[in-house]
Structure formats: structure tokens, C-alpha cells
């Protein structure tokens, strides 16, 4: 797996983490290139379905990050998001989806260094646990006649 370069998609809010990542840039903090940032107005805007869609499109890891509690630009979006992630995390875990691949964090606009660390840590971690194909491959289970593995009971 030494040449495995994971694909990490980050869902971040505009006011804290996006700005934090900007600060990492202006501070010239170097971190792994595997990250792709998608900008949202607020963590409250981040639809849980997007995380599944990211896995479907082959993301090996996901970072969801926004303002620290009490710091939300819109006063409460991150609190709502936090509840959403608590529910979502529990559900995914119950379904056996590899939640090690989703990292939730609070990174403020002042935490450029934290952002850099976080990305590196996540990339290292995902490199260790390998590519995530399990979820995207679901798209092939259940296709075709019974003889080709319909009702793909693992027998």
C-alpha cells in the first residue's frame, strides 16, 4: 500500500474552517495534498447524504469541520450539525460502515496549524487502513439475475 494515495473530501464551513485552511495557506503550513475542500456556508448546511455520496464517488476519507461550539457565525448551525453527526455516526456504526473514515472536527479561523495537523493525521490514518472500496462496491451487489449473485447473501 505504499503508493496508495487516498482521496479525502473535506466539508467545511466558510467562516471557521475554510478561513482556518486559508490561514494555513498564508502561514505556508505544508500538509498532504490528498485533501479536497468543499465550501459550505455553515456546518448546519452539510447534508448527511453528501457524505454518503462522497463515499460513493470513491472518497477514502471524509473530514467534516466547522466552528467550535459557541463560535458559529450563525449562532447555532454547528450545534444542530453536532446533533446530526451524533445520530449519523451512531447509525453508520450500527450498519457496519467504517466510521474511522469520517473525521469530525472543530477548526476555527485562527487554527491554521490545527488544520494542517488534522489533514496530515487523517491522511496518515487512511493510508494505514487502506483504500475504501467496500462502500462504492455496493453499487455492484444485487445487479443481474439470481445466478449472478442477486440477493447477494454471503453464503
Amino acid at each position: 500500500m505504499s503508493d496508495f494515495e487516498p482521496k479525502i473530501i473535506a466539508f467545511v464551513c466558510n467562516w471557521c474552517t475554510y478561513a482556518g485552511a486559508d490561514l494555513a495557506g498564508t502561514s505556508r503550513i505544508k500538509y498532504a495534498h490528498n485533501i479536497r475542500i468543499v465550501r459550505f456556508p455553515c456546518t448546519g448546511r452539510i447534508d448527511f447524504m453528501l457524505l454518503l455520496k462522497a463515499f460513493q464517488s470513491g472518497a477514502d476519507g471524509i473530514i467534516v469541520s466547522g466552528c467550535h461550539p459557541a463560535d458559529c457565525h450563525y449562532t447555532a448551525g454547528n450545534y444542530h450539525a453536532r446533533r446530526r453527526w451524533i445520530v449519523f455516526q451512531n447509525l453508520l456504526n450500527f450498519l457496519g460502515i467504517d466510521t474511522r473514515r469520517i473525521t469530525f472536527s472543530w477548526v476555527s479561523a485562527a487554527e491554521g496549524a490545527k488544520w494542517g495537523h488534522l489533514v496530515n493525521e487523517v491522511v496518515d490514518n487512511i493510508k494505514k487502513i487502506g483504500p475504501y472500496t467496500e462502500y462504492a462496491k455496493l453499487g455492484k451487489i444485487g445487479i443481474g439475475s439470481i445466478s449472478e449473485g442477486n440477493y447477494a447473501r454471503i453464503e
Binding site: 482521496k7 500538509y31 495534498h33 479536497r36 464517488s57
Partner: protein
Amino acid sequence: MSRIGVFVCHCGENIGATVDCAEVAKMAKDFPGVAFSIDYKYMCSDPGQTLIKEAIKEHNLTGVVVAACSPRMHEPTFRKVAAEAGLNPYLCEMANLREHCSWVHYKDKSTTLKAAELVRMLVEKVKLNTPLYPIKVPVTKTALVIGGGIAGIQTALDIANSGHKVIMVEKSPSIGGHMSQLSETFPTLDCSQCILTPRMVEVAQHPNITLYTYAELESLDGFIGNFKATIKLKAKSVDHSVCNGCGECSAKCPIKKIPDEFNAGLGTRPAIYVPFPQAVPNKPVIDRDNCTYFRKNGKCGLCEKICPTKAIDFSQKDEFITVDVGAVVVTTGFDIKGTDFFPEYGYGKYKDIITGLQFERLASASGPTLGEIRRPSDGKIPQNIVFISCAGSRDPAKGIDYCSKICCMYLAKHAMLYKHKVHSGKASVFYMDIRAGGKTYEEFVRRAIEEDEVNYVRGRVSRIYEKDGKLIVKGVDTLLNSYPVEIEADMVVLGTAGIANPESESLAQKLHISYDQYHFFAEAHPKLRPVETNTAGIMLAGACQFPKDIPDSVSQASGAASKVSALFSQNELTRDPLIAFVNKNTCVGCFMCQSVCPYLAIEKEKIKAKDGSVIREVAKINPGLCQGCGTCVALCRSKSIDINGYSHKQVYAEVMSLFNERSLEYV
């Protein structure tokens, strides 16, 4: 079919040194929907901007991706460029190649590939961008000022003087607030009423100001520029249009022993009263809770009989009026802890332990002692007086955590006033720290210590008890080896903590504004938006936000007034269109979105049949209030709410554009 233009900026060496910009531009050409792609040294430079403008026109572009620095830096610049070329500015997006790519990665093929992918992501997004237009909201150019203390007075005058209408609501019978109760003011020791009363009169006479005293806000609906306020005018029982303010009624009222609010409980007043001689309006009201006529079913009625103008009207009822206003300024002031709050100072059982506000009344020429410092218990002039600062403040254990900010200064003033009036007397001040930050404040305190020989003791008072007619003040002097100190005082003045008004919570709920843990109203941003609340169009001034002194209150009031004036300077309010909107067809009206909206921007809208009957209710976003956080968007189960600029389609396309070529083997 989209025709997207991609403009890759080198930012000199900033991007170009790490990312192969030409290669990115070349790759971008092959992205579906890209009609034009080019790289250039400095896109934000004049030639760069011209390049974009010409490309938009020449290639008839339907969208633009500028791959350069952070959108937080130059998005407005490039959107303006797009607009100048005739493209809707919201059809321009930026890919962040500098802060999120070239500056944080090393020069490598993977860095260039990432840059290309960031461009692809924004190309996919911009294809789904729609032209957006700034939202215009009409503005009612009348301000509502709640509270007629110095902050409210200043706000009202400033707004009125800039030519706009003001409606002022004051719950007590007169405006003036706490400042009218003060004797002299620090750091100049000029008479409080002398500087205040002209302004009170100005408020009453200003053609742009409508004053409602003895009135309260009942409810507030609407949004910035378009509020509807319902004001409750409490029954005064006196027809002010007839009353000439002769004062006969007050003089003859048989009920005399009502503790006088204006004198902080140190004096008494009748049931029909004018709060103080300089009150505005200077006409009485009947305090129905204490009036015999109202308490005993029409017995008494003396005032009615003697009133020369027949102004007494017992039949008056509370009245409600509704006014349209465009902005609201909350200036409801503060309250203080009473002496009964302090266990170690006897739970208020010693008459000669008083609050700072009570001392103000004792020192005031218009006060119950006509300005002589006499102790309440026996009217003697105290020869030894002790002031205790931080009474309740800075006391996480049993008081409040914060510093009330004004006490150091007014206690120094009190000590000076005392020394000026009782030359032989001895004044001591117990303090934790002297916080005299402010223009000539420190000098003022030094004057108290040095010229007026006030004895400042650094330490707290652990207990006060009464012994042989003296108050024994037990404290500690932490500068003298922490030795215990005992002072036999004749009177003690507590610099009691400034706290939020008891009604602040219910008022905040009426206004839909937030408040902090101490129930002071919360400003929108502690540093950058200190006079606004989170609810657009509602401002704060004075001590309702936090205890503050007169100069601070007045400057905040002027700040709030200027915010209001700025708002009123336009006929329409222009707002960024990046807000949410509802698909009425699919909304099922569960209104869960309402409770997540921090701005109360979601309303219920009735869908009606042709005959006017209500078919169903759906959510509706008020564009005047929505700030575009999108929490409702992610919450809505049927995806009936979407948001401009971060629409479902757009973010979906962004995520899907980041597909992994390795693992996505559909075949």
C-alpha cells in the same frame, strides 16, 4: 449548454512556482462544458481583469471560474469583473489554488493534479449557478427607542436630528432613567440633572420624536425595515391633555407613605405623583396599586374633587397602539443588587448599610435630605463612612462573575462628595482593584485619595455587624500583611453589582433577540458589531447590554443611532441574495425548519384555493431576515428548501466531481 471560462492565475510565483498553471489551464479545456481556458500571471491586475472581460464577451461565456487565491480574498473583485462584462456576478466562482493548494503543498505533479481537480469542482458548480439579484427590502423610516434613560434620550435625539421619526417608549411616568437620580457625575463632578434635564426637555419638544411614557412594548413582529410594534399605554388615570401640572393633587393625596422609587426607597411619595420635580412630562399619574380609590372600590377620590382642571379620570383603561417602525433600539438600562443580597452584611437588616444609588439620592440636592449626608436610621451625619466596592461583583462563589465596571468610579466620587460635605468625617473605601480606566478617571481617583484623604484599603469586607449603634466593618488589608481591619462606621455604602433588568428576559423574547447568561442583551459580535443584535434591525445601547458609565452609554447610543440613520438613509435595503427559499409544491409544512432558524426567518404561508379556503400551510423564508446559513436546508426531509449559492445541485455536483478514478469501476 454551459460555456464556462476558466482563468488560472499564477499569482506571480505564489501559485506558479508550485502548480503548473499552464497545464491546469490545458486540462481544464477538456472538462465538459468548458469553452475557454487560459492562464495568466496576475488575474487580479488590470490586464488580467481585462482578459477575463474580453473572454466573457468574445466566447459568450455563461460562467467563469477564476482559479486563483481564496474567494474570501478576491471573490468580490472577480464578481465585479464579471458584472462589468455583462455577466451576472453570481455566475463567477473562484477555485482556491493559492491558500488551499500551492501554499500548502510542495511542487509536484500531484499538486498540479489537485489544482486541476479544484478547478473541475468549481466548473461543475458554476455550471449550475443561476443569476442572482440583490434583495431589496423597503424601509419604514421610523425608529422605536425602548427606554428613556440617557442612552435612549441620546439615541432618540441623534436619530431625530438626522431627520427621521422616533417613537420613544418609557415604562415609568417620566424619562430620565438612572441618570436623573444621580447627584454629581464623575470625573467632572458636575450636576447630573443639570446636564440631563435640557436633553429630556429636548426629547419632549422635538418635532420628530413621539414620546410615550408610562408605556411598555407589548409585542414586536416583522423584520428589519418593516417591524410592527404594539405598545401598551398604561392607564395614567390623569388626562394629560387637560392637566396643567399644578401639583395640588399630589399635595393633597392622603396616601403619603409609598416608598419613593426615584429616591431608591429612601423617601416617600403619594399615590398620585410626579416622580421628581424635573420630570418630563411633568404631569402626575396615579399608582393604582397604592391608590385608595382603586384599592377600596371608589372610596376617596379626593384628587378628582380638588383638581382645578378636572384632569383626573379614574375610568381610563390600558390602551394598545400599533406602530410601523423600521428599526428598534433597546436602551432599557440596568438594575442593581439590593443590600438584602449580602448575607455577610446582614441581609439588608441594617438600615445604615445602603447602596450606591441610595447614596446618590442622599448626596443629591433634590434628594430626601436635600443633599446633606444623613444616615437613614436616625438622620445623624455619619462621621465615619465606609464604602465597599465589588459588592456582589467579581464574586463567582456567591455573587456574579463579572466586574460591574462603574462602581470604582462612583465610589470614589461618593467618597469625595462625602468629604466635601462632611469635612471632619472619615471615609474609607475597601477595594479589590481600582479599575479607573478612562479619560481622567485615574486622576479622579488619585484626587480622592490624595486631596480628599479618602482611606483606600485594599481588601474585602468579611462581615458587618451592628454594635452599640455602630456598624463594625470587619475586613482585611491585604497590603498590610493581610492584617484584619475593623472600622467602627456610622454608615456603609455598598457598590452593589449592576445586573440586568428583571424584565430583560421577557423583553428579549418579545424582540426575538438573544441575551447572555446574566440576561444582558447580546450584541451581534462582541468586537465588531457591539451595537447590533443578532436580529437585523434591532440595536442596543447603554447598560442593557452591560453596565457602563454615562460617556460609554452616550457613545454607544450615538453608535446605535448612526446604525439606524445608515439604515434609514436608503429607501430600500439591499441584501446579499445568498439566502434560502422554499419549494411550495413539495413543502409538507412540518415546520421543523422554523425551530432551527436562528433568525426566525421562516414563516407560515397559507396556500389557498380559489374560494379562499386554506388548502395547506407551507414554510416561507423571509428574505429580509434570512442570513443564509442553510441549516434549514440540510434539515428539510423533502428537500423543499434550497439555498442560493450552495444549492443542492451545486454541492452535489461538487462532491460528485471529486470522483476517485481508482475505485470507481462501474464496469
